[in-house]
Amino acid sequence: MSRDNTLWFVIAAFNEGPMISEVVRGVAPHAQVVVVDDGSADDTGDQALAGGACVATHLVNRGQGAALQTGIDFALAQGAGHVVTFDADGQHDVAEALEMVARCRAEGLDAVLGSRFLGATVNMPFSRRLVIKAAVVFTRLTTGLNLTDAHNGLRVLSREAARKIRIRQDRMAHASEILSQIARLRLNWREHPVTITYSEYSLAKGQKISNSVRILEDMLFGARS
């Protein structure tokens, strides 16, 4: 199969040195990749480059939201037709991401959002399920979007959608922010079933429940306008 050069995977990575080159190698045969190394203390940037990704480096850590926006800007400047946001820790499945892109194109959608609750989860801890379900209810109430998942990092955006959505929440609250902008901009979106794998590696690094408090705080204090 040949690489689709109008398709860009944007991967925000923070201290993912042990995993990132494997993740990039999984994507690179199919699409272009930009990894935003968000002030990692390890060799994330070099590993990503070795795996075949373009690397944009944040000199200091600014959070996943900021990193995604950097990656999206980079991809748009390189002429991306579609943008995929993809996790660096191996939790997402490349084949499913490509299915989502195909669907986005075939149905002429602005956005396709991954849903682990339409799809599957592998070894998902109960506490994580609870927090995400709470986020889903919260998102439904605040945006009116009828979603089954929230805070899912696997998304496909058309070029137009990627241009219109501006992430101003630097840290993890960006996930809610993207959804609220999708609602406000009245983008044409669908959810698509995906599998999220909770490996030992991803769980050791993943979001702690305590961080949901920080997310709420970020949403309360708002972001720059």
């Binding site: 935003v36 940037g45 690397v55 944009a56 000199l59 200091v60 400047a77």
Partner: protein, 113 residues
């Protein structure tokens, strides 16, 4: 006596700083200066503080001071958080701009665009 002198010194310092410094709002400058001046007055006339407290329905002067301190501290902290966020936003813009300007490309692809 010593405590009163120290307190007076601190209020004088605040008064002086507020007098020479530029504020975003003139009203804030005046408020801070009035506050410091009132502080000096009440340090030396604690009975008046109690009278003022009773006027606004608080038992003792000391209680009023506690409430006022809490409110001022709260406002100060909120102000500090807002400023911290603003400078964080500026930092993010800088970091993001640099990241894109200095992006690295994989072997054999060179810098396109």
């Amino acid at each position: 006596m010593i405590v009163s002198l120290v307190a007076t010194g601190l209020f004088l310092f605040v008064l002086f700083v507020a007098a020479v410094r530029k504020f975003t709002f003139f009203g804030l400058k005046v408020s801070v200066m009035l506050f410091a001046a009132a502080g000096i007055y009440f340090v030396w006339n604690p009975d008046q503080m109690t009278r003022l407290a009773q006027l606004v329905g608080v038992g003792r002067g000391a209680d009023l001071i506690t409430y006022a301190t809490t409110v001022i501290l709260f406002l100060t902290v909120v102000g500090a958080i807002i400023r911290e966020r603003r400078s964080g936003d500026v930092l993010t813009l800088l970091v993001r701009r640099l990241a894109i300007q200095q992006a690295r490309f994989p072997e054999g692809e060179g810098g396109r665009g």
